[in-house]
Symmetry: D2
Subunit: 351 residues, 4 copies
């Protein structure tokens, strides 16, 4: 028996002991753990409204909203993420369908959430006693640990995009969850957060503040639309960031939200950033190229963009893209692209 | 055929379409995704030095350190985490063994790292040109994107605990990695960070700062020991936090480090916090109770403590426990225990 | 000659030497320098519009606006401050009169300034190229080191209140001053700051920011009025603070601005705060008690309130009081009322 | 009578009304209020130890320390400041003389203070119960609203430099003052702040913090000296800033402190900054040029440097210059030199 044979045998024995003792050698995994650039398991993916909306209708007929199930939310499950209901590693994206005269029961959890309304009317979300009306294009926040429930008083359904940091908060093992004693919490006020916080540059002394995010809970579409119209008056495209008006920071500690308007015929150059996002087409038609692959899109299509994915957008019609991202997490933890790292495709990508 | 049969058939069909279209219903997963309190997959676990050290010796004989493998680091793999080399969801813990006259090659990555020296001498870690000497009990930082390599000029090995945010940075898809052109980077200075930053309350104007963490790269054991001795002069136990002297904040954006001294006979009451940690026994003997299960420990034993795990410690001998945790992440993202959430076992646990 | 005589003679000689050598003994001045509570030299004072407005008209006829004089600003000179043109130690308050078809030349300085419009129309202030329209009730900012000039294109004068940190910046010896090469700087945009910053919770990516204060330069009266109307819908009085929408902080680093609406018949309880302010009556009639002395007021009256002055207000008609204060300075320097200091008259006074 | 005569008469009448109504025209004062660059009333000035020390001895014989007078502090009165005991507009500088077996009574005030020890031994300052030993070269802080008293148990006097923000806090009308019920407050601990805060990079969990400045109250000369020695090992001069170890910020909200070591033969190029300072020569001999005027200096000489004064230093012997400045005020209020303002003499002057 040669020395090498002996060594081989000892190595086999060593790795058996590794397994028995719950140990692993870095040297066998370094390349996988430490890629030269981010190499997400999540893949770029598009879910088409043509698929999603009929599914939502069928759910509306077949699935009842009740305690335990809580919400008729149809989650985007990125094919790269092993069957978990996560659009990206950090962001949950879902189409939520609230049928006529339905309510979704009141609860709270440490996951932060946003709702971006696609269509419908006559619905409100009550957040810690404040009933926030929802109209198409509105962005409604339910920050961590706020009680929230949704009520539809009309004969038609409402559909919205749900964005949560659920994958992140679940990964970090920080979730607490609590049902409200009542199915619907008492409504103390209507659109109070708007009365107190929706005038730019003005704060009502003594206004309600939030422990976990923006005190402004509803960002009305008409105001977003007007801001985008002004910003595209002399530019073919513009992006607005939704912010916490009490700090100028992100609306939630873990989630950034923005809206990009592109006039028909506009193309945005390829860019990439560290961290992931979901694009929800609110209005318009066009196509995007994600790591070299082209996908066409129209209203209510939803696109998962993994970290460091090269992405470009082109608009055939006047288009509004709602984007939710984990940029606040990347920034808070100092994980933006290293200054001497690989050149970005486009400069404006590491906010 | 009854209505219910029809509905059942339609449901089956619906869920088939869910799978085909990469969708999932929240209602089938809500309880799992949103537990009432954090319910980690990671389990409390102890790795005993009696197992670890002989394994390290065998690795020293059988495993060569070279480009590609990079480090002889033996990672703690939490049995609850499905075979991945992670002690907790966010923290990599490993025993690193650097043999006599060995060097570990220079590289850099976006993962933040600390080294806590267990035994050995005559070793230094060069961090962006600054050779930092390492002695038992020292804490040495290699912040994100700093080039670092380790050199042992003696006839004996050195062993240290490696703590990295690798599971977190890998999860977030933020890792960039680069080898230094040379196996060993040029040494420009020796212990420069200590000369510039190791006098409390004093900053040398023009001193080197760091983009990703503390500019002080080495926390000497003799100073830690003296601070703990003073703090336990009239108290049976005390904890010191290692901080960035330029900000008073955590030493790295993602990792907290502390040392708890317990005099013989001291017990600390049960406590729990949101977020995970690894305890490394540096000195002393005693036992801990983790979620009701008692484990005994001695020098160089390592314990994984998952989020919200109830833990208490008792020291039979004078004991020093080094702890690395993800508290800066939990705090930066606003994910501490909700104020109206379940009562903690002990008040002082949510820093 | 006794010892005491000798000592007296030596003391005389000592104090002569003090004077010769530019020295002074603390023991002779301690009580004056360190009062038990703030003892301002500035006195509470009211300037009545009945005096101010005719004076402004006379100035309009007799004083020309030109380079060197720069502005037809009639400064409030607190009788306690030794003849200097300061309403309080830190705040300059003035009535500025811009006649028909007049312009005030473009310049910049390190003093921060606000303009609160009393009456008139068709005037704008250009701030670093952005022409900001001014209407009664508007608050217009000219942050430190921004070029600004005022233009009146109508046949009527406009009158506004000027609030500057000039006494403070002069005291600190930080003033730099520069004339613009032209009497009127070029207008690049009209109300650009409003287009970019006047939608609450929304930031246009790439919008102009300011080095020395809020990027929103004009706070329109109609929005202020609406916010106050909402806030007094179920409360007889309310106060809104003007803030920098990019940070939620004060509009200028040294000056806070607010507006208090009191419905007819409302009285606010006595309060005091550390730091000084000027109250400008925009609308309504009533009276105030300042350190026990009662003064009646009506539109455009201006009141200086020194530090720690006890003040209460009562409104006989629906009233809007514009207030400018140095609260940001007091807060930034940690000089608020000590927690164990003398009890305040009213709790809500140390923001 | 001509029109001009009429106008003249009306102008005279106008200005009489101005005076009667406590008003003033900006146009008559603009140039004075808004100089092109800072134009302090304070003048550069030096107080020589050869004058100061004998005066202090005479005061030691003639002036008793007692309640009311409180301290035997001989204040530097800048000749440009109209006879007030202020070295600069913002900073009080004084030589304090504490005789053998004397105590200075316990009090507190909202003015922040530092003590820089010149000579003597066996003295301590008690700050909120913590007796801080004082040795030559030590910097001892008494932050706003901390009770403090000084005790000398030896047969020799101690002399130190007193630096306070008294002119600033007096100007802002923020001073509260309170005598301790006892002449000497009870001593609870000795050098506690050093035990808790004097290890760089280490914080004792639960350590005493301060509401108004650094929790480290004593900066020992031996550590300052060692840091300066290291910093001048390969450079002929170096400056260290004293900082709050809990934040890395200034030791007090209003006062910066630093020490510059210049080896014999070193000259520092001319520089200027916005804001004022006092230089105290601790060790060495040399000369400075202040706005073109040269002054020679030796140990314990004290120099007032007004805002924007051009200053250069040359050391004939190895020299240590202690500097106290108002840089934290200038920075907090955003009043540093404007980026497009007049060129500085030397780049490194606007920290």
């Amino acid at each position: 028996m040669t020395d090498t044979d002996t060594d081989d045998a000892r190595l086999v024995e060593l790795y058996q002991d590794f397994e028995r003792l719950h140990l692993q050698g870095l040297w066998t995994q370094a390349a996988d753990l430490m890629p030269k650039v981010p190499s997400p398991k999540a893949v770029p993916w598009i879910w088409h409204a043509a698929d999603l909306l009929p599914i939502a209708d069928r759910c509306g007929e077949l699935i009842t909203i009740e305690r335990g199930g809580e919400r008729r939310a149809i989650a985007l499950a990125n094919p790269g993420l092993g069957g978990r209901p996560y659009a990206t590693p950090t962001i949950w994206g879902a189409l939520q369908h609230l049928g006529p005269h339905e309510s979704a029961p009141a609860h709270r959890h440490m996951a932060n959430a946003v709702r971006f309304v696609l269509d419908g009317e006559g619905v409100w979300t009550t957040v810690d006693g404040d009933a926030c009306d929802m109209e198409p294009g509105d962005l409604v926040l339910t920050p961590a640990w706020t009680f929230h429930d949704h009520a539809n008083t009309t004969d038609s359904p409402m559909r919205w995009f749900d964005g949560l940091d659920l994958p992140l908060s679940n990964y970090l093992d920080v979730i607490f969850y609590e049902n409200h004693p009542d199915l619907a919490q008492p409504v103390e006020d209507r659109n109070r957060s708007e009365q107190q916080w929706a005038t730019a540059g003005v704060q009502v002394r003594g206004a309600t503040r939030s422990a976990h995010g923006s005190p402004l809970l509803r960002y009305r579409w008409d105001q977003t639309d007007a801001a985008l119209a002004a910003a595209t008056a002399d530019s073919p495209s513009a992006t607005i960031d939704f912010v916490d008006p009490s700090t100028g920071g992100p609306p939630l500690a873990t989630l950034g939200c923005s809206m990009t308007r592109m006039l028909a015929g506009t193309s945005l150059p390829p860019s990439r950033r560290v961290g992931s996002s979901i694009v929800v087409v609110f209005r318009g038609r066009g196509h995007s190229t994600l790591n070299g692959e082209r996908v066409g899109w129209g209203p209510f299509d939803m696109i998962a963009v993994p970290s460091w994915c090269e992405v470009s957008h082109s608009a055939d019609e006047d288009t509004d893209l709602f984007v939710i991202d984990d940029a606040p997490v990347i920034k808070a933890l100092g994980f933006g692209r290293p200054p001497t790292g690989p050149a970005a495709v486009d400069g404006e990508n590491d906010r």
